[in-house]
Amino acid sequence: MAQDSVGFSSDYQFWMQKLSVWDQASTLETQQDTCLHLPQFQEFLRQMYEVLKEMDSNTIIERFPTIGQLLAKTCWNPFILAFDESQKILIWCLCCLINKEPQNSEESKLNSWTRGLLSHILSAFRFDTKEVGLFTQGLEFTPADYYPGLLKNMVLSLVSELRENHLNGFNTQRRIVPEKIRLLSRICIPLVTLPDIEPLVEALLTYHGHEPQEVLCPEFFDAVNEAFLLKKISLPESAVVCLWLRHLPSLEKATLHLFEKLISSARNFLRRIECFLKDSLLPEAACHPAIFRVVDETFRYALLETNGAPEVIAAIQVFTGCFVEALEKKNKQLKFTFKTYFPYGSPSLVVVLLQHPKEIPQELWHQPLKHISEMLREIVEDQTHRSHGGPFECWFLFIHFGGWADIAAEQLVMSEAEPPEALLWLLAFSYSPCDGSLQRAQTMAEVKAVLIRLKKLLGSPSLSAKDLQAAAAESRDRDPRPPLCQQLIRRLLLNFLLWIPRAHVIAREVLTLLAPTDELTHEMTGFLDQTLYRWDHLRMEATRPRKLARELLSELCPAGTAV
């Protein structure tokens, strides 16, 4: 307890000093400094209240003789009063000072003085002119009638001034001075979470002045961004986009905030990821190439840091999906070439990748797949012209549209014909982009062999889990398969289970054999979730496979599917 009170005393001294310097926050420096400290001061007020509420009025004065000064200075600083809950906590503190039975004139004076402060904050009227005072009081209005209406009208007036300024162009006489706009943005910092102020915040964010440098103060952007991320303010998309375009740190914070949600330790189903994404407004905002690049770079970084973790890849895919959707909605308004979004990829490749499988009949899917495979192969195997980056850049572009790889895997399993080389290459590349050509060829050969064996099994009258496992197993006389190749084969096996009706019966058994460890279960869950998500988006008619997939998923992950 002694430790606490020492800490608190020094805090008290610190804040007392600060308040004296700030005074009524009428200069630029005092305003800036006050705004910087608002959250910490509110915390201090809370602590103070906890201390004060245990004491009676006299004890308080004994213990904190200067408390009156502290509270009064707080009252007179409008930035503090305007912030979040500070005014409420201050009122609580003042209430602690009231003595219900003052015994002497000093105690009475303290009461009177405290009542004065409370009145100043709450119930008194203060007017610019006497006439206004007489009018409002003559009509029996209370502050509760007057102030909210006045605030609304002041906001409206400022908003229309800002918008007019926009239109006034070079009419310098009627233009608002940049200093005033900066001041306005500073004033809004404590008020950002007050709903009445939203129109003003929006007007400031979308205000494009005539000066070359940014006229709003950076702390304003920070405050708005913070409030937006915590959902304490609701802004239209256009305003949020302006915020992020004008203040890069805000965009970065928003992206990181999103990432924390997406890539947390708990398994996030893709449906949920999609919700988080849409909620964050980042896909819509990303229709601006500058914003897209920042988010994309963050994804790239996360990918590299996690060595290509499947969660990150899945997040990139969902993000790209939402982004493309948003882009299509806006296609009338924004016209940027695809190169601006994906400067690291070949433009023709981007165009092909952007094709939506939905728009192509299922029977013809092998065509774009072949095309994509060929284009990628050309770029990757071309040692001389590194115009579109190395294999990693290519691969990074490709996984944005990872649905194609999954479709390739399905096609391989479903078709009766011999596995086409193009599809094999594509799959091998998507799972293991940095392989040398020899390694890749080996992978392709392995996969082909497994596929052939699996299809041969279909010829036999009975199908058992052991058979399937044998078909998929490594051959003893060869080198052990690299883990990524193994993963690919597991994926193919799973597709086999889903798409071949005869295999449904043994599906669970096979899965148990395939995924004995937690890690592998995790992997399987991811595959199933991704597959279901993709089928939903493509509106594929796949009743029995879908049913099986759902059942398997809920068995593997009883914590609950998001569907």
Partner: protein, 358 residues
């Protein structure tokens, strides 16, 4: 119903008393009862908010009370004016008591405990009241902060203080009993007599210029079948102005010229009255040959410059108004004999001056 009405009346009296020095006799128990009543009435408001018949009945009773209290010398507005106010009765009462210095220390202490119980309040009503009061404090500081940004030059069209007063005035006007036709006029006349006139006129002008779909100040819902629309308030103001010649004269004389033009543009009846006054004022001027200008007989008469300025402003307004003004001027000129030569009829001279200017 009867007990409910009785409660209403008692609470209304309570509200009225809460501002007087009589509260010095109140002890914590009285405060507690008062707050309980307020809370009870808030429940009533919530429950019967949708029952139109009950609302109407209650409002009628409230307005009867108003009529009784309408004796000269007393406040023009009683404690509870409409059903909506029931929902905020506790807020109104609390603010009045907080502001009343006559309230004893013990009672005040108790009041604060009730209003600001602190964090983590389980009772939703108490939390709501505490929240409203905190929000009010925040709103006040917001107003103060926004004032920092400097007033700027604001015409009455845009001045937020005038606009707010105008909205409040229209709000009160809506509450005046509709049963009597003279209610609103009497109310406005009382205000005219008691309040500073200059400000009142400006507020009237601002009220007349509010957009027709101006939202109600306290978020009241429109009653189904209610005859009152936001435009009605403005109509009442016009009626009153037209009936009260001294107010009309002051309105047209002392308000800024541009503002009057805007008002005339919106309200045809006022436009005609304004033109009527202008012609009256014009007729009082005679031509002073030596000086070569039109002058008034007495110093308080409107001068030629002022008259010209007003007509000029009117003629700068968009078409319906501009045309009407020119037509009126032409008619006056014709009445005078349709002279083309300057110095004979003031209307000729005005038209000449306006013609060359515009």
């Amino acid at each position: 119903m009867e007990s409910l009405v009785e409660h209403l009346q008692r609470f209304s009296e309570l509200l009225a008393v809460s501002r007087m020095t009589h509260v010095s006799t109140w002890d914590p128990a009285t405060v507690r009862r008062a707050l309980q009543w307020a809370r009870y009435l808030r429940h009533v408001h919530r429950r019967f908010g949708r029952h139109v018949r009950i609302r109407r009945a209650l409002e009628r009773r409230l307005q009867n009370q108003w009529r009784q209290e309408g004796a000269p010398g007393s406040a023009p507005v009683p404690g509870l004016t409409n059903f909506q106010a029931l929902g905020r009765g506790d807020l109104l009462l609390s603010l009045r008591l907080l502001e009343n210095r006559a309230l004893g220390d013990a009672a005040y202490h108790y009041l604060l405990q009730q209003l600001f119980p602190g964090p983590g309040v389980p009772d939703p009503d108490e939390e709501a009241l505490q929240g409203s009061l905190a929000r009010l404090a925040r709103c006040r500081s917001a107003v103060q902060l926004l004032r920092f940004s400097g007033p700027g030059e604001k015409s009455a069209l845009q001045d937020p203080v005038l606009k707010t007063q105008a909205e409040l005035l229209l709000g009160r006007l809506r509450e005046v009993p509709k049963a009597e036709a003279e209610g609103p006029s009497r109310f406005l006349s009382t205000l005219w007599d008691r309040l500073p006139q200059n400000n009142f006129l400006k507020v009237l002008a601002a009220a007349l210029l509010l957009p027709p779909s101006s939202p109600r100040p306290q978020g009241e819902e429109l009653e189904p079948g209610s005859p009152q629309t936001p435009g009605d308030g403005a109509q009442e103001l016009v009626r009153w102005l037209l009936a009260k010649s001294d107010a009309l004269a002051a309105f047209c004389r002392s308000l800024p010229v541009g503002l009057l033009t805007s008002v005339a543009g919106r309200h045809p009846a006022l436009c005609r009255a304004y033109l009527g006054l202008l012609t009256d004022w014009g007729r009082r001027l005679h031509y002073d040959l030596p000086k070569g200008t039109w002058v008034g007989a007495e110093p308080q008469h409107v001068s030629w410059e002022e008259l010209y300025g007003r007509f000029q402003s009117l003629c700068r307004a968009p078409p319906p108004l501009k045309d009407e003004v020119l037509t009126a001027l032409e008619a006056c000129k014709a009445q005078d004999g349709d002279f083309q030569v300057p110095g004979v009829s003031i209307w000729t001279d005005l038209l000449l001056a306006l013609g060359s200017g515009s």
